[in-house]
Each structure stands twice: as structure tokens, then as C-alpha cells.
């Protein structure tokens, strides 16, 4: 049976950050498998700092309404409280942008732009 552990208490005691779930197996092969998972999922930039998705190589300034930023901050706090996964508001914004752009087709974009123009008048 899986032992119940108070991960928040452990994180506080270690002064560490809970970063996410992994499938930790025992023995040599478990160790090697886990290492591969860690190296792939939680890669720290060479200059130090927060672990990030290595595919995010482009950086742009994105203008936001204050209420959108507040909403992103509230969502990331919710994620951290529920799952212990720490994510920055703009990392969440990048994730949402990535997911949404994958789902939208050309007609959706036309509709979005049309709605925006009408509301600007």
C-alpha cells in the first residue's frame, strides 16, 4: 500500500519546492528510468533559475489587461495549493496560448478578430 505522506510538511522541512509527480521505481532500472524522466521534464536552464520547457525559446512582450494578469495569478495559486506544482503566471499564459493556438482554425480567428473590432467601435 502506498504510504500517505504530508508532502507540504516535507517541502517546508527541506526548504524545497514541490515540483511535480514522478514514477519512482526501486532498483537499478528504476533509478535509471527516474533519472531519464527527471532530466527530460525538469531541466534547469544552464544559467540557473526556474525549470522550464526547453522548447520555449522565443520571448515576446505580451500586453495584458490587469484583470487578466490577476486571473492568471489566481489560477497559478490554485494549481499550487491543490497539486503543489509551482508555475509562474506567464508560464501558464504561455501554456494557454500554446493549447489555444493548436485548437483554433482560420474561421475561429476571423470570428475572434471580428468580435474584437465590433467591441472597439
Amino acid at each position: 500500500m502506498k504510504p500517505h505522506l504530508d508532502m507540504d510538511k516535507i517541502a517546508r522541512g527541506l526548504r524545497a519546492e514541490r515540483t511535480g509527480k514522478v514514477s519512482a521505481g526501486g532498483g537499478y532500472f528504476g533509478a535509471m528510468q527516474l533519472l531519464a524522466e527527471i532530466e527530460t521534464r525538469f531541466r534547469v536552464p544552464v544559467g540557473g533559475g526556474r525549470a522550464t520547457d526547453p522548447k520555449w525559446t522565443e520571448r515576446r512582450l505580451v500586453p495584458l489587461a490587469p484583470r487578466t494578469l490577476k486571473r492568471l495569478e489566481a489560477m497559478t495559486e490554485g494549481v499550487k495549493a491543490r497539486s503543489g506544482v509551482s508555475v509562474e503566471p506567464m508560464q501558464l499564459a504561455a501554456l494557454l496560448l500554446e493549447k489555444t493556438t493548436e485548437q483554433l482554425d482560420e474561421d475561429d480567428v476571423k470570428d475572434l478578430v471580428a468580435v474584437r473590432r465590433r467591441s472597439d467601435r
Partner: protein, 137 residues
């Protein structure tokens, strides 16, 4: 008629704090975070084993793994590393003990600071913990 006795009840007190069923994994890197400067890995593996032995009762260090990854933030340069994975089985009570956590955290911060790491990684149970703030020891 002889009185039948039920199965003897196994008391938890026989195994203080429960069975050693929580896996703690520490990754000992081979290089500094620049990806090239060696850190004196053998010394850190020996120190990690000594710490796990003293605090949790034992540990196993596996032979070096060979890793490679592409650093997309530095024009896709390939970075090679040879981390050592240290496994320690402990009890839920021992891993939640504040004194033990202070010792484990302290070791990770010392290694992170002296071996110039961006992060020291620790897995406890099925969670990955990142230690990035190395001051205070």
C-alpha cells in the same frame, strides 16, 4: 474443548515507525551548472551515503549513469553529464521527522552551493522536490 487462539496480531510497535517503504532518491551531479567543470563527485557520493546512513539507516549508490541533453538556450549545444543516483528506503515517520528533514535539506544546500548547481533534485515517494536556494548553512 481446547480454546482456539486467533492469529497473533502484529503490533506496529515491533517495527518502530512502520516499514521502510518510502523511497528517497538523491541525484549527485558530475559537473557544475556550466556543464563542464567537474565537482569531485566521489566525495559527494561518499558524503551522501554517510548522511543517509546516519539519518535514515542506510542507502545505495548506483553506478554512474551517462546522460546527454540538448541545451536549446545555448544554440542546441549538447551537454554531457554522469550523475550518480542514491536510493534510500525509510519509514513515513522518519521522512516526516523535522530534525531529519533539516539534516537532509542542509546536505542538499551544502552540495548545491559548494558544487555550484542551479538546482539539487530530490524525489520522495512519488514527488520531485527542487532545492534552489542554497543559503543558510
Amino acid at each position: 474443548m481446547a480454546k482456539r487462539h486467533g492469529k497473533p496480531v502484529r503490533k506496529r510497535s515491533l517495527l518502530k515507525g512502520g516499514r521502510k517503504r518510502v523511497l528517497v532518491v538523491l541525484f549527485v551531479p558530475s559537473v557544475e551548472r556550466d556543464g563542464t567543470t567537474p565537482i569531485g563527485q566521489e566525495r559527494w557520493v561518499a558524503a551522501a551515503l554517510a548522511m543517509f546512513g546516519r539519518v535514515f539507516g542506510g542507502a545505495t549508490a548506483y553506478p554512474k549513469a551517462k546522460g546527454i541533453w540538448r541545451d536549446d538556450e545555448r544554440d542546441g549545444v549538447l551537454v554531457r553529464d554522469e550523475p550518480v543516483v542514491v536510493h534510500c528506503y525509510t519509514t513515513p515517520a522518519d521522512i516526516e521527522d523535522p530534525g531529519n528533514l533539516v539534516e537532509l535539506g542542509s546536505f542538499c544546500r551544502t552540495m548545491g552551493r559548494e558544487a555550484r548547481q542551479g538546482e539539487v533534485g530530490l524525489v520522495i515517494g512519488d514527488e520531485y522536490f527542487a532545492i534552489r536556494e542554497f543559503s543558510g548553512e
